[in-house]
């Protein structure tokens, strides 16, 4: 059972200093996440869900507590090691897509491979494959500005997938999309989770979106208040 745990959070706390005042964003969050799980983190704004996301995504470190990713304690690693882990093990999908402007879908998808010494020929193959996995064949050479919102989010998913990560993090992935397109995007996540056994963590405040996940945890004021 222990082998199947991909993420283990032990009593995470996070204190931000904003000028003179300290903001206690997380007050002890503990949770293990199974490999292949699809989990939604819910809660109102200011509940600490983005902070959990940033720590799990290795963009930030907890003030106290420990975080194990695939058995390795990452809460103490320096910035460069965290960057390596983001590059190898984690794929991000953001609410605002966060694609590079004036660049093609293909170039955007190749971006993570640029930082992992994959030869450019192979990088292109992997990127094309990832784009086809999200249903964007034939649109590889379109620029960001020529793509619709849904297509842009698909490119973002392809970019998150291209390095074959063990963990996919999505921060309000449907927030900027209409319901129909949002559902299509969620179907892609579900498919990736079920068919490719990729662990998916969603941050959302939309209960409908959260229904796509197997489990939901609810955060309020920096602690987990409920789970189902």
């Amino acid at each position: 059972m222990e082998n199947n745990i991909i993420i283990k959070l032990e009593n995470l706390t996070k204190i931000y200093k904003v000028g003179e005042t300290e903001v206690n964003a997380l007050k002890g969050v503990s949770r293990s996440i199974q490999k292949g799980e699809m989990l939604a983190i819910m809660g109102p704004s200011g509940s600490g869900k983005s902070t959990v996301m940033n720590i799990v995504g290795c963009l930030d470190r907890p003030t106290e507590g420990r975080y194990f990713l695939e058995g390795e304690e990452v809460s103490t690693l320096d910035k460069n090691r965290l960057a390596r882990i983001r590059n190898k093990k984690i794929g991000f999908v953001f609410q605002t897509f966060n694609l590079l402007p004036r660049t093609t879908a293909l170039e955007n998808t190749e971006l993570p491979l640029l930082y992992s010494s994959v030869p450019s020929k192979k990088a292109k193959d992997l990127a094309l494959k990832a784009l086809s996995a999200v249903g964007l064949e034939g649109r590889e050479l379109h620029r960001t500005s020529q793509l619709s919102g849904g297509e842009q989010q698909r490119v973002a998913i392809a970019r998150a997938l291209v390095n074959a990560p063990s963990l996919l993090l999505a921060d309000e992935p449907t927030g900027n999309l209409d319901t129909k397109t949002g559902n299509e995007i969620m179907e892609i996540f579900k498919k990736l989770n079920q068919e490719n056994n990729i662990t998916v963590i969603l941050v959302t405040h939309d209960p409908e979106v959260a229904q796509f996940a197997q489990h939901r945890i609810y955060l309020r004021d920096g602690v987990i208040v409920r789970e189902d």
Binding site: L59, N80, R86, N98, P101, L114, R159
Partner: protein, 405 residues
Amino acid sequence: MNILRTVRVSMRALGRNKMRSFLTALGIIIGVGAVIAMISIGEGAKNAVEERFTSMGTNLLFVRPGSLSFRGRQSGAGSYNTLTPEDAQALMEKCNAVQYVSPNVSGRVQTVYRNKNWNTSIQGVSEKFTDIRKWVVEEGVFFDENMVKVGAKVCVLGSDVKQNLFEDEDAIGQIIRIKKIPFRVIGVLEAKGESGGWFNQDDMIAMPYTTAQRRLLGIDYIQSIDVSATSTENTAKAVAQIEEVLRIRHKIAPGAEDDFNVRNWSEMAESASESMRILTYLLGGIAAVSLLVGGIGIMNIMLVSVTERIREIGIRMSVGAREKDILLQFLTEAVVLSVLGGVLGIGVGIATSRLISHFAGWTTLISLGSIALAFLFAGSVGIFFGFYPASKASKLDPIEALRYE
């Protein structure tokens, strides 16, 4: 991320803002161009001066009366006529490092040929003059020892004088009048060209010094002695021998100052080319300031670019770019800009230097060294001024960068 890929990524980033990239590089283009053009002017001037000097021979010495070098302390007519033709003769006989000597007198005269007249200088010299100055007689002949001995009324024209008095007419055998005295033209000298602007060697008439003394100037002393040493290496030895012989002849007590002065032409040449070298440094230095200003332009634009691309930096960091990768990317952009600017600047510099030599008529010389220097300088400017913005970019916090609007 390897260097080639980084360069490609940088080129793509610069290509997204072509106009701005070009304007940024313009500072470097102008800077490098100015450095190359300015150095080419300096080097050209230096080269021209050196060429003129060596064309007169590197083993050339001048003996002059002392008052010239002790101006202010020791002037007066008396000190001007200490040199005699016998002094010149003695140098020839007693100094084994001396090859040829030519007593020299000169003056300005009005010359007349038919309806044309021309104001020029006469050089009274010996028959060895052409050997000492390495000068070729283009038409006719130079006067010989006998003509010097008897003070023959013959003359050899510098090419400018020939042109002014005779134009295309044949001058050999014609009679010109100098102070109403008729002189037969027996030769015309080859043109040497202006000596870097300070005097025109071709605007003069050479004649036996004896003739010039008696017929035109009315003096029995000589004004200077041109000497050639047996070789360039022997010039110092020749100077020493000349000083020894003249001190004895002029009965100068040991410890007393010479009443004459020996100048080494190659030393004068060196000091002239040294001053040209200083001119080159000066011009290059002034131009380098503009290169520096161009560098500041790069820093300015890179800072703007970093601010504009904070979100891009955040995206790159979120997919795994390390500090080092971001630093390298922005640094490479700055260096690519300055190196491209450098390459274009070399072209601009060469073109400018050509235009200057074409329109202003100055000699310019583009050396590979100056190109390499300007190019390396441009590259270093890119690294130096690109570093601060690049380091600023690499220090960004990924979370804040991603959130940046």
